[in-house]
Each structure stands twice: as structure tokens, then as C-alpha cells.
């Protein structure tokens, strides 16, 4: 049995393959649930209800989709020209650090100014940490997979250093946390539990998705991604493209960190990255590296995560809930593969 690349992607097959993949996953999940003594109907109803069954569920799902979507967009933007940004996690953390840094001296500013400045700080933080790998790749040809991956570890350690050292909360009983953010730095609410981070992310994902699908810039990215020689032949500057795309990618992931900090946190802590940067790689892969596909995938992924988290309240252990989420993602990823490849049995 082997995989053969389809000459053209399965027409209209994406939705069918996706549905098939998810159904297979749900059936396997049901077997798992029954064998561990849970009622699959009850569990799946809870998953759906908690994630998409009410405005409150939607608010949780969309809130989760924000960091997933922005991190996914960061990976997909780079991926659309064949670059692998594995450092979205680190860029997200750098963004949160940038935003937290602004908050350290903006405590007296009014909310609008402070939030705007914090999000700008986040964008700059993410862009800055991506600048190194971008320059190294553009100028020296250093593999960006390695450099972006390694910088995740650096970012994790920097935030650990900050909350254990110079930024440790003087009121925090020596616990490794930064001081509480000024109350006016919290993103205003949107609906139910969601804040306007959802709107900001939607605007950014929509704009970048539209621009990369419709503009000459996006077209040049695609050419550069499919053939470097062809790109240079038609006069596209690869170095400039690599630089701008990786820095843009970092800035987008950084924004995710800023929205997480201002929208979902009360202070900078070590776990601020939340693994969203890594999950962004899955989001981008499921969106077939197309920035325009990221939003839908992020919402679906968010729903799976929110639903998967909620079923614990029915007594399903975290490990089983995790396996269930992984099964659904795996089914969907498999479907994404099958739209571009077909299985040949010999």
C-alpha cells in the first residue's frame, strides 16, 4: 500500500474526506469511550453543547480559535512560500513579553492607549524574535526550521527568567509570577465570555488571507515557494521575500501572545505560550498551508479543544479526553492528506 500524489486535488473531496475522517475518528472514539465505561452519546452531546451549542459555548470556542488561528496563520504565511516557521510558540511568548513590558510603564494610561500599545509591543516582540532566523535564512541560507525551533526554548527560558527575577511580583509572596496587569489593560468584552480579541484576530486573518490569495505579493510568494529559480527568473527578490515573510509570520504569532495576555490572562506567567504556537502548525497543515483556510480550521480545532475539555466534567479522565481530541485531529489531518494523495493498494 502506498500514497500516490493526485494530479489535481480531489475536487470537492476535501469536505467529504474531512467528514469521513472525523466520522471514523468518532467511531473509534466511541469504542474507546464504551470500553472505558462512558456513554458516547452523552459525551459527544456534551462536546457539541459546550463548544457550539450555545452563545457561551461559541464564545469559548472563538476565544480558543484566536491564538490557534493567529499561530496557524503565522505558520501558513511562511508555509505558503515553502518556509517552515516552527517557532510560533516562541514568537507568541515574545509577543506576550513585549505586551507585558509595555504594561510595566503604562499603568496610568487609559485603556485604549494601553491596549493598543501592548498589542503593538506584542507585534514588535514577535517580529524581533523572528528577525534572527529571517536574516540567517535570507543572508546565509541557514535552515529556518532549526533556528525557529531553537528560539522556542530561548523564549521559554527568557519568560522564566523574567518572572523569577527582574519582573517577579513584589506582592506575590516570592512566587514566580509577574505583577498583575493594570485592570484597564483587559480587552473589552465582545459577547458572553469572548472579548474583542476575536474581532482583531478575525480582521487580521481575513486581511492576510485575502491579501495573500488575491494580491501580486501573495502570488509571488506562491511562485517563490514552488520554484526559487522561476521566482528569480521573473525578478522576485527571494531574500527580501524571505525576510518580510518570516518577520510578518513572527509578528502575527506575537500578536496572538499579546491578545492572550490582554484578553485571557491577568499577569505574565511561565506557561503563557499555552502550546498554541505548536498547535498552530497543525492548524496550518489542516488548512493545507493556505492563509485563507486558517479561520475555519481554527474554529473547528477550537471547538474540538473546548468540547474535549468540557467532557471531563462528566467524569471522563483528561487522558481519554486527550486521546479523543487527538483522534479527531488525526482523522481530519488524514483527510487533508487524502485530498492530495490517493491510496494505491498493490
Amino acid at each position: 500500500m502506498r500514497l500516490v500524489r493526485r494530479e489535481t486535488p480531489l475536487k470537492g473531496g476535501q469536505v467529504r474526506a474531512f467528514a469521513a475522517g472525523v466520522v471514523i475518528a468518532l467511531v473509534l472514539g466511541a469504542i474507546l469511550l464504551v470500553s472505558t465505561g462512558h456513554n458516547p452519546a452523552e459525551v459527544y452531546a456534551k462536546m457539541l453543547d459546550a463548544s457550539l451549542g450555545s452563545p457561551r459555548g461559541w464564545s469559548a470556542t472563538l476565544t480558543r480559535a484566536v491564538p490557534l488561528g493567529l499561530a496557524g496563520l503565522a505558520v501558513a504565511v511562511a508555509g505558503s512560500m515553502g518556509l517552515w516557521n516552527i517557532g510560533a510558540e516562541g514568537q507568541l511568548i515574545a509577543g506576550a513579553i513585549g505586551a507585558a513590558w509595555v504594561a510595566r510603564f503604562g499603568g496610568d494610561w487609559n485603556g485604549f492607549v494601553l491596549i493598543t500599545a501592548m498589542l503593538l509591543g506584542a507585534v514588535v516582540g514577535g517580529a524581533l524574535i523572528a528577525l534572527g532566523p529571517a536574516l540567517a535564512r535570507a543572508r546565509l541560507g541557514v535552515n529556518e526550521i532549526i533556528t525557529t525551533l531553537m528560539l522556542n526554548e530561548v523564549a521559554i527560558r527568557v519568560v522564566r527568567y523574567l518572572v523569577n527575577g527582574p519582573w517577579k511580583d513584589p506582592e506575590g509572596n516570592n512566587f514566580p509570577v509577574a505583577p498583575e496587569l493594570p485592570p484597564q489593560s483587559a480587552l473589552p468584552g465582545f459577547f458572553e465570555r469572548a472579548n474583542i480579541g476575536v474581532l482583531i484576530a478575525a480582521a487580521v486573518i481575513g486581511a492576510v488571507g485575502f491579501y495573500s490569495a488575491r494580491s501580486a505579493w501573495g502570488y509571488e510568494l506562491k511562485i517563490a515557494g514552488s520554484s526559487a529559480k522561476a521566482a528569480e527568473y521573473v525578478g522576485i527578490s527571494l531574500k527580501a521575500k524571505i525576510l518580510t515573510v518570516l518577520v510578518l509570520s513572527g509578528a502575527i504569532a506575537g500578536l496572538a501572545g499579546g491578545i492572550e495576555l490582554t484578553g485571557s490572562s491577568t499577569r505574565l506567567v511561565e506557561g503563557v505560550g499555552g502550546g498554541f504556537g505548536f498547535a498552530g502548525i497543525i492548524v496550518a497543515a489542516l488548512a493545507l498551508m493556505r492563509p485563507s483556510g486558517v479561520a475555519a480550521v481554527a474554529v473547528a480545532f477550537g471547538a474540538v479543544q473546548i468540547g474535549g475539555g468540557a467532557i471531563q466534567t462528566l467524569g471522563v479522565p483528561a487522558s481519554i479526553a486527550g486521546i479523543l481530541q487527538a483522534l479527531i485531529l488525526f482523522g481530519a489531518l488524514g483527510a487533508a492528506v487524502l485530498t492530495n494523495y490517493r491510496v494505491v493498494v498493490k
Partner: protein, 385 residues
């Protein structure tokens, strides 16, 4: 909203199908459910899987014990990270499902719990290991683990032949520092020449890192090890090297060969009392720092220890209030005397940021213990982490 709404018709069809399935399933769910509004339901949020030995395991045992004692329905979620939206989602889900007392059992849940308490006046909240509370529906709770730590130190001091006891520690926060100091004072009570070597792992649960740290201490000549994490890795390393192990959190005799004893948690009584107070509408917020007298912290005295009699006597004295671990003359790591024989401060104490926590003449008090940022004499290592 528009940018995140699926656009293609196929997706729209999928969504409408999804809605139909949802409708059908929620009917089923409604038929199965149906709960009494006034009934007390207690929910627990845990930072890691409850597992079979550590911090979360003991909270889960407390949950089960309280459920049995009160008849209240309980539920828990595990592996909920600190500082993200997952905690919020879980707690909101519990509240929506009619749970009216929420136990948040990890330090990093503190700010979020405070917000939930403000937004949900009809629900009571208890946060474990933090320092925030309010006047209506939000308590914090912890245990004086330093008391059994001292007794564990007595056993360790009697056990060591090399005079080096290894302490694999998590993070240099007051709780951990206080435990190391109490343990060291206990060691000195039975073996004045022994030292306690500290290695920081910056982990709460990472068997690989913790096992390596334990090995480093064994390589330095330690023949007794203890730890402040959730894994049994230090115990495994000690057993493999033929050293003695004192645990933490729970009785680890099942998991670790050379296990001697451990300071342990027992949350059942406290959780029972909180749930009962919710049941009869008498929940009163408090900052609860439970002691061995309450039983929230405890230690089993190993008969095999040559100092079992002394340990028993100290345990009784602590429970009766006749002995306090940090009473009497205390010396800092560098030999500076910190308190006189009456437990009065001889120096001004500040936390690591220069905020005063005690002045000359003050008696040793909970405020100083809660902000403890210095090591006592006999500890080898740095509070800098």
C-alpha cells in the same frame, strides 16, 4: 464574526447537519439529566492528572472522602493549565452545570478564581495555596506542611551515615524554602553535624529532570534523599543507589523500595467541613492554614527509625501546641542569628524585594513564614534557584 464563519455551501450544509445532530443529542442529554437546583455540588480543578501519588492525587482522595462524608455530588477536571482560558472554561462549565462550590487546587488559579468569585456571588470558591480571598464567597486554604517536614528531618538525620542529605526541590518559593528549613531543623535535632544539600529542578513533575537531580546529590555522597515534587523519580534514584528515601504528599511505600516515611496531605476533613458549610448556607470566607492538629498535614512515624520515640514526642507536642518548628533561636545560612531564644527577631527581615516582613523585636509569625526567603544554617545551596 463574518471572517470566521464557514462560507462554502458544502460547509453550510455540514453546519446545519451539525445543528440537527446537536438538537437530537441535547434532547437525549436533557432526558438523562435534570438536577435539583438547591442540591450542593462540589467541583475540583486539578493542575495535573490525579495519578497515584502526588499533590493532585491527595486532593482527589480528599474529594472522594468529602463526597462520602457529605453525600454531596462531586466532580473534577484534571490537567488544567495555569494562566490560560482552560481554567475559565472548566469553571464556567461547572457553574453552568449547577455546581455551587468550586475548589481550585493550584497556585496559578488564584487571580482567575478571584474574578469568578466576584462574578458569581451564588457560588462559593476555595483556592488552595494562594493568598487572596474576599468577604463573601472566596476562601484560601493551605497546610502547615513544615510541621511534618520537621519530623521527617528528624528521621533523616538519624538515618544518614555520610552526613549529607539530598533535597530535590522544585522552585525557590516560600512554601518550598519553608519546607527545606523545617526539614533541616529536624535533621539538626537528631544529627547536628549533618547538612542538607539542595538542588533546584524548576519542575513540579518531570521524572527525568528530578531523577537526574537526585543522582547528582547521590554522586556528592548523599545517602538519604527527600524531595518536593509530584513524581517518585527521586525515590527511584535513591532506591537504585541503596540510599534511603523520604517522600512527600502521600505514602509512597507502594511505589518506592527504600521508602522510610513522608509528610502527607489529608484534605478530607477540610473539604468535608467546607461542603457542609455550603450545604447549611454558612460558608464563611477564611484564610485557612491548617496544622497537624487539624490533620490536614500529617506524617507516619516509622517504627524502624532509631528516633521513633522522639519523633512521636515532637508530633504530640506540635499537635498540643507545646512545640513550634520555628520557635527559639534561628540562625541563617551564613551564621547570622535571626531570632533569640524567645523567638524574637534580632535582625530586620525583608523579602527578596526589600519589602519589610519583620523588624527587630517582632516575634516569629505567620507573615514571616509565608514570605520566607532565606535558608537556615545547615542548608547547602542558594535560595536564588
Amino acid at each position: 464574526m463574518n471572517a470566521v464563519t464557514p462560507r462554502s455551501s458544502a460547509k453550510r450544509i455540514m453546519r446545519s447537519k451539525l445543528v440537527m445532530i446537536l438538537a437530537a443529542l441535547s434532547l437525549v442529554a436533557a432526558a438523562c439529566g435534570g438536577s435539583d437546583e438547591t442540591e450542593t455540588k462540589a467541583a475540583f480543578v486539578m493542575v495535573a492528572p490525579v495519578g497515584d501519588a502526588g499533590w493532585n492525587f491527595m486532593h482527589d482522595l480528599g474529594r472522594q472522602g468529602a463526597e462520602e462524608a457529605t453525600g454531596a455530588e462531586t466532580a473534577f477536571v484534571e490537567a488544567i493549565p495555569e494562566g490560560g482560558t482552560e481554567f475559565d472554561n472548566s469553571v464556567q462549565q461547572f457553574i453552568d452545570d449547577g455546581f455551587n462550590v468550586i475548589f481550585a487546587t493550584s497556585f496559578g488559579y488564584m487571580d482567575a478564581t478571584e474574578k469568578f468569585a466576584a462574578d458569581n456571588p451564588d457560588v462559593d470558591f476555595v483556592h488552595i495555596s494562594g493568598f487572596k480571598k474576599n468577604d463573601t464567597n472566596f476562601s484560601n486554604a493551605f497546610g502547615r506542611m513544615y510541621q511534618p517536614r520537621y519530623i521527617a528531618g528528624m528521621a533523616a538525620g538519624a538515618e544518614t551515615e555520610s552526613g549529607i542529605i539530598g533535597y530535590v526541590a522544585a522552585f525557590p518559593i516560600p512554601e518550598v524554602i519553608r519546607g527545606i528549613n523545617a526539614f533541616t531543623l529536624g535533621v539538626q535535632a537528631t544529627n547536628p553535624d549533618a547538612v542538607v544539600e539542595v538542588v533546584w529542578t524548576s519542575t513540579w513533575f518531570d521524572p527525568g529532570v528530578e531523577g537526574n537531580a537526585a543522582q547528582a546529590l547521590l554522586d556528592k555522597g548523599a545517602d538519604v534523599l527527600t524531595m518536593h515534587q509530584d513524581s517518585t523519580a527521586t525515590g527511584q534514584a535513591a532506591t537504585d543507589a541503596g540510599a534511603t528515601f523520604l517522600g512527600y504528599h502521600s505514602d509512597m511505600s507502594e511505589q518506592v523500595g527504600n521508602y522510610l516515611t513522608a509528610p502527607v496531605w489529608n484534605w478530607t476533613d477540610y473539604y468535608t467541613s467546607v461542603i457542609e458549610s455550603v450545604q447549611n448556607d454558612s460558608f464563611t470566607p477564611e484564610a485557612y492554614w491548617g496544622s497537624m492538629a487539624d490533620g490536614v498535614v500529617d506524617i507516619e512515624i516509622p517504627d524502624s527509625s532509631p528516633v521513633a520515640g522522639d519523633m512521636k514526642a515532637i508530633k504530640d507536642a506540635i499537635i498540643n501546641g507545646d512545640f513550634d518548628v520555628f520557635d527559639g533561636a534561628l540562625f541563617a545560612q551564613d551564621g547570622t542569628q535571626i531570632t533569640d531564644n524567645d523567638g524574637k527577631l534580632l535582625v530586620d527581615l525583608a523579602d527578596p524585594f526589600g519589602n519589610p516582613i519583620g523588624a527587630v523585636g517582632d516575634e516569629m509569625n505567620d507573615g514571616i513564614l509565608l514570605g520566607m526567603g532565606f535558608f537556615v544554617q545547615g542548608v547547602v545551596g542558594s535560595v536564588e534557584g
